[in-house]
Structure formats: C-alpha cells, structure tokens
C-alpha cells in the first residue's frame, strides 16, 4: 500500500567535499510521501551533511536533487538556502531549535511571512491560523505564549507546526529526540505517525535505534560518508543496523601492554554533573591505566569530565589517591588534575598569544620563586616541549592561531605534560587532528600513563577508544551503561550499548 505513495524528493549520486575532504559521496536516497525515513550512522558518518543538502543549507559538490511538482513529476532543482527549500515544500527542524525566544508562538510560526492588513500585522488572523497548526501537532497552548517560556519538547512541536504551515510536504528532523524525555519522545513519534498518515514525508536522524525500529518505514545507513545500506521495514533489525553502522574492520595497530597497578588514583563516586539528565556516575581509574569513555554525542561524557576537573560544580565525590578533591579547577589543577577540553579554541588556547605562553601557563605556577616567573627555566621548558611534542613549525614565538589543528592540540596537551599531572582528562583528544599528529598524541598519552598517571578520555570515535583505552566505559543518557576491556571489546558491542541496547554477554554493566 505504501509503495503507492509518490516520491517527493530524490537525491541522485550526491556528494559533498569540504576543502578536499570528502564528507559525503555517491548517495542515492528517495523520500516518499506517507513514509518515515530514518538516517543512521556513527558520529561523523555524514548524516548532518546529508540533511543539510536535503534542506538546501549546503549545496552538493556533485549529483543532483529532484523535487516533485504538484502533479508528482520530478524536476532537478538547485536549492540555494533554506528559503528555496521552503518554496519547494521542504522544511528542516534543527537540532538546536532556533525559535526566537522573545517572540510568541504565533509570531514565530509566521516569522517572515506575517499576514497583514493595510501594512499592520493581522494578529487575530495570525493567532487563529497558528492555533490550527498547533492542533495539528497536538499542542493545545495559547498562540500568544512566549517561545522562550516553553519546554524544549513543545518548542520542537512549534517548529514542526511552523514547517507544516509553510505547506511543506517533506519535514526533516535532525535528532529530534536528543533533548526529550521518554514520554515526550513517545508523543513525538505519535505525531510523526500522524504526519505520515496525512501523506507527509518525514525524514529524521537519530542515535537511538529503538526509535528507528519503532517508527521508520525505511532506513538509510551511512558510514564514512557513504551509504552502506538502505532497508525497508521488515528487512532490518538492531543487529543488522549496528553492523552496517560500524562495519569497518578494526584497526590492527598495536595495543599497549596493560601496566596499571592496583592503586586507584582517580575515584569518582556518585558524581552528578551539569548533564541535563542528571544521573550519578561512579568510576575508578588506577595508576597507569587509560580508560576510554565511549558514547554518542550528548551522552554526558563532556559534563562528567568537566565535573571531575572542577570546571563545573557537581554533586558527589571525586577522590585523588584517596583524598577528596574539592573546589574549582584552580584548586584541582594544583592537586594534579588536568583537563584537555573538547573545544580547544574556546576553552583550551590563547589564540593570539605565542606558543610559548600557551605551553608554560601551568608550569610557571609550580616553578616560581615567591611568585616570580623563572623566565630562564621557562625558555628551557618551552624548547623541550616543542621538541617533545614535535610542534611544527618549531617556533615558540609564533601565535598559536597560525598553527594547524593538530599542532594546536599538541600545544594544549603539552601545557599539561609540563606539570606531570596525576590525572589527565581528555575530551576528544584528536578531534580535527590529522593522522600523524594523532599518533603522536596517542604516544604521549601512553607515555604519561606509563609513568603512573591515570588517564580518562572521551572520544566519539570508536576506533580511537579501542586503540587507546585499556578499559572502556560506555555512556548513554548521562549514565555509564557498560564496561568493556579493550582486548575483548568490539565496535559492535560499544555501539550496541551506546545506542541504548541492553548489556549482553561479555559486558558487565
């Protein structure tokens, strides 16, 4: 019956390159009215890029888009911006909802195309029409409510109402459930189902395979920018999707010989950080051990690391060598806990300052005489670090912002290696870093662990987790849901846990 539904949108051989890097290649997808299409894949598989192409936000470097006209005939189009997409009947509901918080619901639904009479806003008509669209998504709120006062789930529904009000026949949702509670998710899935029955095509990206299994009529699986599967309902199950998502053979680089002692260096007990789901996390890292935190974006890894580092306040206890760590990052850095943040430009580097200043910032505190900087020692230290971290170009006076991503990251890590931290926390240690620098960073982290430090790192790349970690903790929705030893872990097992699958044999959650 569903096959009777017409194709509303088709992409043929679409690809996209960014500065020579292929983000997406040779993608064929058909979106039909009255169908829910799910797009799944690991972080960085190209899902967002595909959504952006479908919704006209970015233009494909190759291939073409075809959109159905009123009679159902497909025509090749070039969508240049979201406005073109709206005109073609395609609406994107962003992951970060971008409703203007200071507008009321009716105002934001009709933003940019407000009904008017004699040049004045026709507020009565706006409200009446808005109410109709809100009813359509099952939302019974007053259209004059300010958007900023709505909970996230309702804002999302307002965005969907807005999409419908533009006569969109294709509604694209980017990780729509990532900020919703279980009940809100149920409600959203119901609405997606209703839209489907009305003949709308719904496309959504999700990290939660449960949802995909519940609602999707067809699934497109992406991996490394390519389509690895396109399956109709009945032809897919969880195991198959996981396998298609992960697919690639495990890199065979040598794993480190485990050298950790029995001594627990870092003990985290019932820590509740800033994560919105606010669940308590407990874990231990022994001296000489490298523990990897795996999980999907938004699983709460960053929040956990920031809590341990003292960058954000937290509940629960963090202990270093049996003594409790209290206070802010200042106090904890002095006790030997260091963090390499995820966003190095914002939280890690002083971009306009020289490499030397970036490297010595923590060292000068430990090596000052009555608070006076030991400038001669500083010069020596910087020279040694530049050599040790193989910073290129090897010019300490150069501004850090002129360095490549990999060298910038080495500078952040070098700042901490200079003070031999007892605990090193790394959030996405090699994001945006080239292969060579990645190997060097991994080597330095291993060398630090070999001296007896405890290392805890978070990475969205399973390959990196498997390569670097001795032990892997998998996080999902703010909690640790599984523990795996690196030599027995597989990408499949991690992905299973990270997407909300229950622990199976071989894992002890």
């Amino acid at each position: 019956m569903r096959s009777e539904h017409p194709t509303l949108l088709r992409v043929c051989g679409v690809g996209r390159r960014y500065a020579g890097v292929t983000a997406l290649a040779e993608i064929d997808v058909e979106v039909r009215g009255g169908e829910v299409l799910a797009i799944v894949g690991e972080n960085g598989a190209g899902k967002s890029t595909l959504l952006k192409i479908l919704s006209g936000v970015v233009q494909p470097s190759e291939g073409r888009l075809e959109v159905a006209d009123a009679k159902g005939a497909l025509h090749a189009v070039e969508l240049d911006g979201a406005r073109d997409a709206t005109r073609a009947g395609i609406a994107l509901v962003h992951q970060e909802l971008n409703l203007a918080e200071n507008l009321d619901v009716a105002g934001s639904i009709f933003l940019g195309r407000e009904p008017s009479r004699f040049g004045w806003l026709d507020r009565t008509r706006m409200r009446d029409e808005a109410r109709q669209w809100l009813t359509r998504v099952g939302l019974s709120i007053d259209p004059s409510t300010l958007c900023g006062t709505l909970p996230i789930a309702q804002r999302q529904l307002v965005e969907i109402a807005k999409a419908l009000s533009t006569q969109s026949r294709v509604v694209i949702l980017d990780e729509p459930t990532s900020s919703l509670t279980a009940r809100e998710t149920d409600r959203l899935l119901e609405i997606m189902d209703e839209l489907r029955r009305d003949g709308v095509a719904v496309v959504f990206v999700s990290h939660h395979l449960d949802e995909v299994l519940r609602i999707a009529d067809s699934v497109v699986v992406l991996r490394d920018g390519r389509k690895t599967g396109e399956l109709k309902r009945g032809a897919f199950d969880r195991a198959l999707l996981e396998q298609l998502m992960v697919g690639r053979s495990l890199a065979t680089a040598e794993r480190r010989e485990r050298r950790e002692s029995a001594q627990v260096r870092l003990a985290v007990d019932g820590v509740v950080g800033a994560h919105r789901r606010r669940r308590a996390v407990s874990l231990q890292v022994r001296a000489g051990e490298i523990v990897g935190l795996a999980g999907l974006v938004g699983a709460g890894r960053t929040e956990l690391l920031e809590a341990i580092a003292g960058v954000t306040r937290h509940e629960g206890r963090v202990q270093l060598d049996g003594a409790e760590l209290v206070g802010d990052a200042f106090a904890r850095v002095r006790r030997g806990v260091s963090v390499v943040p995820e966003d190095r430009a914002r939280h890690g580097l002083f971009l306009e300052d020289p490499v030397a200043m970036n490297l010595s910032l923590a060292w000068i505190d430990r090596n000052s005489r009555s608070r006076l900087v030991d400038t001669r020692g500083e010069t020596g230290l910087v020279g040694r670090l530049v050599a040790r971290m193989q910073l290129r170009p090897a010019q300490p006076s150069r501004r850090v912002q002129t360095l490549s991503g990999g060298n910038q990251q080495k500078a952040v890590i070098g700042r901490w290696l200079a003070v031999d931290p007892s605990v090193l926390l790394l959030d996405e240690p090699t994001r945006g870093v080239d292969v060579g620098a990645r190997a060097e960073i991994h080597a330095e982290v291993r060398r630090l662990a070999d001296t007896g430090s405890a290392v805890l790192f978070a990475s969205s790349e399973l390959e990196e987790v498997l390569l670097l970690a001795d032990r892997i903790l998998v996080m999902h929705e703010g909690a640790i849901v599984g523990e795996l030893l690196a030599h027995e872990a597989t990408e499949l097992a991690i992905m299973h846990l990270a997407t909300g699958g229950r622990a199976v044999e071989g894992t002890h959650a």
Binding site: V339, H347, G348, M357, L361, A362, I364, L372, T402
Partner: protein, 329 residues
C-alpha cells in the same frame, strides 16, 4: 615595548610642535606643572590598565577620585581627624569600592560597564551629599601632608626646573605593575584571563579572584590618585572634581597599546599615552587655541591612534598569513 613605539612617536611629534609653537611651553614652571599632572593622571591610567587587561572597564575612576579627594580634606578639616586616621580610611574605602565592583562582576556576573557606570553616579552623589555640595579644602593647614604631592627636588645644574615629588609614586607604581604583569605568575595569569577567560579557567587560573583583584587595584589607585590631586590643588568642588578622569585614563591606556578586548598591555605605552594627552591639553591652552576645543582634539587624536593601530595590526596579520602560507607549501 614594540607596542609602545607608535605612541612614543606621536608623543615626540606633539612635543616638538609644542616646543616651537606653544608660548612658554618650555618654561620651568610649565614643565613642572606638566610633570606633576602627567604623574597624577598616570596613577589613574595604570589602574585602568589593570582592569582593561582583563577585558573589563572601570567608568567610576573619576568619581572615586572625587570621593577620596573630597573626603580627605573633609575628614581632616571638618571632622578634625588626624592624617594617620584619615588617609588609611580613605584608601580603605576606595579599595572596598573596588572589591564591590569585582564581586558584582565575578559572582553576580554583571557587566563591568554597568557596574562601574552605576558607581560613577553613586560615588559622586555620595561625595556631594556628604559635603552638602560645598567646596572642600585644607584652609592653609596640613602643608606637611600636602608636601607628598607638592614637594619638588632640585636637580643639580637646572635652575628653573625642579622635579615634582609625584614622579616618585608614578615611577614606583609603573615599575611594580610592569613587573607584576610580565614577571609574576599572577600577572601572567591576569593577561591570560583577559585573552580567553574560559581557557584560563580550564587551565587552572583563578580567574574570578584575579579579576576582582584588578578592580580593587584600580579603585585603590583612583583613591590614592584622588588624594594626591587634592593635595596638589588644595581645594575642589564635589560637583566637578574628577569629572571625565576615567575617560582620560582609559584613553591613555588605549593610546598606549592596551586592547579593550583584554590580554594586552604596555606600561611604557600607557605612560606615554598619559603624557601625550597632558601635553596636548597644555599646548591647546598655551598656543592660544580656544580651550573649548580640547575635548575635540583629544577625541581626534585618540581616534587616529586607535585606527592606525588597527590598520598596522591588520597589515602585520596579512603579512604573517602570507609568510605562513609560503612556509606550508
């Protein structure tokens, strides 16, 4: 030092112009007055610099100058306090004002502009209310205390120029603050905080404490400066004493190479920035320009200085980019 070269150049040009075209500019009495004024304004500008380095701003400097400058003779003459009571009290009040600014900015996360704008209105209001808006002065007494600002040292070989004592606090403070910023851990961290507060916090820098400290220092220096100003001039009106001094201080710091974005400072530059503004003001009076034009001239010089600095910086950045591109190929 490299950052200060531009302002040193401007200063020399204006100085030469003044020497030739401003009557009596080179007279001993004029130069002594100029030195005193430069020294006093420098104390305010050094305080402003510490705040600007963090990426903040202090608009209340002039009002703190007024409050402390008015309070000092008021306590001594009207309330008959001894200098040993009055001077520490006034300085403590100034420091407390700075502490309040710092805590409001770091704990309550209020914007520095707003906090110190409220301070600008508040402290002048208090000064005027306390004194019944009456002019305050030393009534010919306390010359021994006023000597802190009025004393002059004879330089061997010079007959009509004697070095004003106010140069001593200027030199001491400039040296201490310069060394603080470049050679102490706290100073380095203060610069880092101004450059990227978030990254500083992640790196274990106690950013809130350092920012608070900088506001305390700024207000304390404004209070100290206000005291020296009143010692120098003898009496003042609460309604206009110290008006616009914060803008002179900020202008001098910016002319001297401080970025209002924070993270950069040149103490030598700031001193020359102050001196430039003082010489300009002096010359406008002496060379027979209408004194009403002073603000316009200061504004124009500031604009030219800042625009030139930005253009030079862009040029340098572009050249660096080209070099970088060439190196990576």
């Amino acid at each position: 030092m490299k950052r200060a070269l531009g302002i040193i150049g401007i200063f020399v040009v204006i100085l030469i112009y003044s020497a030739f075209f401003a009557e009596n500019f080179l007279s001993g009495i004029n130069l002594m007055q100029l030195t005193t004024r430069t020294a006093l304004y420098s104390i305010l500008a050094l305080g402003a610099t510490l705040v600007i380095v963090t990426g903040g701003i202090d608009l209340s400097i002039g009002s703190v100058v007024c409050l402390s400058g008015i309070m000092t003779p008021w306590l001594l003459i009207e309330k008959e306090w001894t200098p040993w009571q009055a001077i520490p009290t006034v300085l403590a009040i100034a420091a407390f004002i700075g502490l309040c600014h710092g805590l409001l900015i770091t704990r309550l996360k209020l914007q520095p502009f707003l906090v110190t704008l409220c301070g600008l209105l508040l402290y002048r209001g208090i000064a005027r209310w306390m004194t019944g808006d009456q002019s305050q002065g030393f009534a010919g007494e306390f010359d021994d205390v006023r000597a802190i600002a009025l004393a002059k040292f004879t330089i061997p070989g010079l007959t009509d120029y004697r070095l004003p004592a106010t140069v001593i606090p200027m030199v001491v403070l400039a040296t201490v603050i310069g060394l603080f910023l470049s050679r102490t851990v706290w100073g380095r961290w203060l610069l880092a905080t101004g450059r990227n507060e978030s990254a500083a916090r992640y790196s274990g820098v106690p950013t809130a404490r350092l920012i608070t400290l900088s506001y305390v220092a700024c207000s304390l220096l404004a209070g100290f400066g206000g005291m020296l100003f009143i010692f120098d001039i003898g009496s003042a009106q609460p309604s206009d004493f110290g008006n616009f001094y914060e803008l002179y201080a900020i202008a001098a710091a910016v002319l001297g190479g401080c970025s209002l974005r924070g993270g950069e400072a040149s103490i030598v530059g700031v001193l020359f920035g102050v001196a430039t503004l003082r010489v300009l003001q002096n010359t406008i009076t002496l060379a027979g320009f209408s004194s009403q034009i002073e603000f316009a001239v200061v504004g124009a010089v500031l604009l030219i200085g800042v625009a030139a600095d930005e253009l030079i910086r862009r040029f340098a950045a572009r050249r660096l980019e080209r070099v970088g591109a060439a190196a990576s190929h």
